[in-house]
Symmetry: C2
Amino acid sequence: MSRRLSVDLLPGLHPAGAAGGTALVIDVLRATTTATTFLEHGADAVVFAPSPELAFARRQHPASGTRTLLAGERGGIRLEGFDLGNSPLDAQAGSWAGHTLVMNTTNGTAAAHTAAQAADHILLACLRNAPAAAARALAREGDITIVCSGTDAQVSLDDCYTAGVLVRGLLAAAPAGTFLPNDSAQMALALLDRWPDPAAALQASAHGQRLLGMGDTDLAFADLALDVAFCAELGVSSCVPELRGSEAGGLVFR
Amino acid sequence: MSRRLSVDLLPGLHPAGAAGGTALVIDVLRATTTATTFLEHGADAVVFAPSPELAFARRQHPASGTRTLLAGERGGIRLEGFDLGNSPLDAQAGSWAGHTLVMNTTNGTAAAHTAAQAADHILLACLRNAPAAAARALAREGDITIVCSGTDAQVSLDDCYTAGVLVRGLLAAAPAGTFLPNDSAQMALALLDRWPDPAAALQASAHGQRLLGMGDTDLAFADLALDVAFCAELGVSSCVPELRGSEAGGLVFR
């Protein structure tokens, strides 16, 4: 029997396909790229908190045996009182052994919470870990739903492009007829023809344009262009954050 | 100042872009193709009724000076008690002078009602009238939102492909910088590279597959493949249904 392979262009848009099975959640600019990088560089766990308030509460009542740091943004800017923003380059620059990173961001953390209401298994995907994430989802049984976080409730090219990379990887790795792609999966695939270079796709997206524009206008954002370039590196990481449970409303990925 | 050019992959998904301006509503398989064909073949008006019940009420209390016929479907099948289904070939085969066609269908009529809540001007678009519809929207001032009806609340390739044809036409007809396309508009454009032939795009869509499959299994649906081929004919009609007002909850197009 064929496995449904659905792309959800916004969280919850395709609830039928998200029932059970495995969800791959994408917020390539930048939350799932950053979460992947924290874990790749030794973090004990990454926790997606549903709100900044619950992130602060988590710092007040930390889990034992690990130090809690808060990371996140609104509108691309580090949240007041948080230890870190949402930059994957900051994540790459550190060594996080002995630390749990509690994240809250504009789009990605909410998308993971929506996906977790429907799917049995939740993986975080980005361009950096796309081949590894596709392989992990393929190894599970059941349907696969690729959930695009979008940007401010709008469908975003950057996430849909990443979904296309995952669809391509899944179709290439499985025997013909294994998957039944929905229309959105076919549409995501078409983006790969138009933008053979992932960096060009991210730069063409409204979200990419906004991040690059912030870099032009303010020295504090001078490295956002480097962030976008880092997010565009395809298949350089084998780390795939997987949902292991929830604590105090936060989703715990390892 | 640039005009926003937004594709709404499902009705209401992009409410910000739909405020004011002109909306082009697409249900290429088949409601907007059929409505266009009714008007092209002489109908006094096409009325999109919000429900089958309100369509029946309209027949009980018809407008003077025109004969009322009901046309519509659920799941591709003619509604019980309706005079016609939703086949554009039936629309093409008739001569509708002196008749008002009251339509209710699964996706398209609801999409037009959603769009009418936000936009100042509503046009119905399909592949057959795409160049004419783009020209009509271009001639208006303000933002343009292309609303894809989708199929059973899912994003559908057939409507998104038609949106791409409209985006291409609008961008080609206006000086560079006239329009500011959103991410979904860029994604719709990418579909044209993947499927240079419109018929292939409609056949690849889940909705197209379903209609073709119904044709395979039941003689009553034997002409649905012909319907799909008819819907795929690009730019053969100059008729663009435009919303002229509402009567008893129905949207009146001429």
